[in-house]
Assembly symmetry: C2
Homo-oligomer: 313 residues x 2
């Protein structure tokens, strides 16, 4: 049996880490958003791939919420002295990943580089980019169109979010590893991790063929709400949803995913927020404070999926 | 009036720094060996250019003798964890130079990148690569042919040195800045810094046209001996000269440079070592312990050049 998880940044990485820990080695594929990727200081930076990789390698920086643990910043000091760009901070340790990725990509694609980095860090589950073709999330705001990291990091999500598009996505193909997981006869469940639906999960679903694959699934697809009592656990989801006039509620998440999902995992704080028959609901404590929470929630999500699988679809 | 200095690594950088300090701003060009350059972790590393740049920016690491002061090594730790190459150590601060150079070279050549890095570090004299075309020093040894940094750093000069060649040099052109300095009507002197004659100065002289330019000079050309009482101040020069059956003496240095030089600066410890009429000799304390020594020696070298210039050539 195998499981496919779709993940974006930090929240997705946490659940992915829980799933990775409890599923037999080699049975989990995590397909990760690459719409946030960008070129910086001549390096390809893949924030979501790295968040998932660092979480599974148990080297993620818990205090910062991004990057590598025990990070230092001598490189940034030197770049500042040299008059280089400093709005996007690259730690000394984090930098090694970007340098190695660039080196590996001189002989292979992003999938191969991601695979090799995971292997070297001792990660036994499979992390794949949603696509090996470049896709770039562009946010339309009241200050014009901004590449995602400019909107997110440089301007700290301050501009008013109007819409998002994924440049290049119409020509992108799902990565081979993603396609293999989608078509795996042993597939047991598809999990949409609690990443931002508009920023992190939407680009993955926008890769041609992915949405159709999931719509035509014969296994349960479960989403996790990224909201607890109207608040995003982390990140700008709540602000953006509000600016778009979408409620930060499980009902809005359910409406957003529509026919894509069979089940939605919500926080106990939101019980009673939905009354429709579909999707099926499972309420629990969805806040992941530590790896124990990650494993517990992952286990509950898989049990929920199996329960849905046992009933008629 | 202007001065042209040819320099390699640490010894050359020290005298170049002394010359830079005492000459009026904008009147010194330092043409630097690029035969030691190599690609590492996907970056272009230019050890000699960086040694000169860091010395003139007063940010060189005096303890190590290479790299940047106050260096840290978190990046190397992370590269080691990722199974990357660690035999050539890149400090966190040093790395910023290589990253910026790569970025600058996406839009220009090595000369332009070197110029821009120098400008950003507040260097007012001109540092130019000997050529913008790639030249790679290859050392033939009893363990086979080795790229220079493999011989020098990876194997710590342990293999027996048999000969050196400069791959690509026959097609290389002197950089525009180097040519401009060589042809400057205001040129007052050419200084061959106390860098290794075979490893550091020879590749510069091997760039087509350079030797001819210097042979046909109408200003004094002064070399500094890299030896004191039969010992190299730093680096493998003495070992290599011995392996080649060349004495580590001012006489051997004079014979090596031949008609290229008018004067040779030697240590007072070596007075009496030469008795020929040419080159003219100037003996002083040539060990540069600190910036004051660098300025004092630079000043003596320039006085020596001017004295030679005043006499008939």
């Amino acid at each position: 049996m195998s499981v496919l998880a779709l993940a974006g940044g930090v929240g997705g990485a946490k659940l992915a880490n829980g799933l990775a820990a409890i599923l037999p080695l080699g049975t989990l594929t995590i397909a990760v958003n690459t719409g946030d990727d960008f070129e910086h200081l001549g390096l390809l930076i893949c924030p979501d791939l790295d968040s998932v990789t660092y979480a599974l390698a148990d080297m993620n920086n818990v205090e910062l919420g991004w990057g590598v643990a025990d990070e230092s910043w001598a490189f940034m000091d030197a770049i500042a002295r040299l008059g280089g760009e400093t709005w996007f901070r690259l730690g000394d340790r984090d930098l090694a990943t970007h340098i190695l990725r660039r080196q590996l990509m001189q002989q292979g694609d992003l999938s191969a580089a991601t695979d090799e980095i995971g292997r070297r860090l001792g990660i036994a589950q499979r992390i794949v980019p949603m696509s090996d073709d470049p896709v770039r999330s562009i946010v339309s705001t009241d200050r014009g169109d901004l590449p995602f990291q400019d909107y997110f990091v440089r301007y700290q999500c301050a501009p008013r979010f109007e819409s998002i598009r994924f440049d290049g996505v119409e020509k992108a193909r799902p990565s081979a590893g993603f396609l293999a997981a989608l078509g795996d006869p042993a597939l047991e469940a598809i999990i949409l991790c609690p990443s931002n639906p508009l920023l992190s999960i939407a680009p993955i679903l926008a890769v041609p063929g992915v949405r159709e694959h999931i719509v035509n699934r014969n296994v349960p697809c479960i989403a996790l709400s990224p909201f607890i009592a109207g608040q995003a656990v982390k990140g700008p989801a709540a602000k953006i949803m509000t600016e778009l006039g979408i409620a930060t509620t499980p009902a809005a998440v359910a409406a957003h995913y529509g026919e894509l999902i069979d089940g939605l995992v919500i926080d106990t704080a939101d019980v009673g927020a939905l009354s429709d028959k579909r999707p099926a609901l499972f309420a629990t404590d969805i806040l992941m404070r530590d790896p124990a929470d990650q494993r517990r929630l992952a286990s509950e999500v898989l049990d929920f999926a199996r329960a849905l699988s046992a009933t008629a679809r």
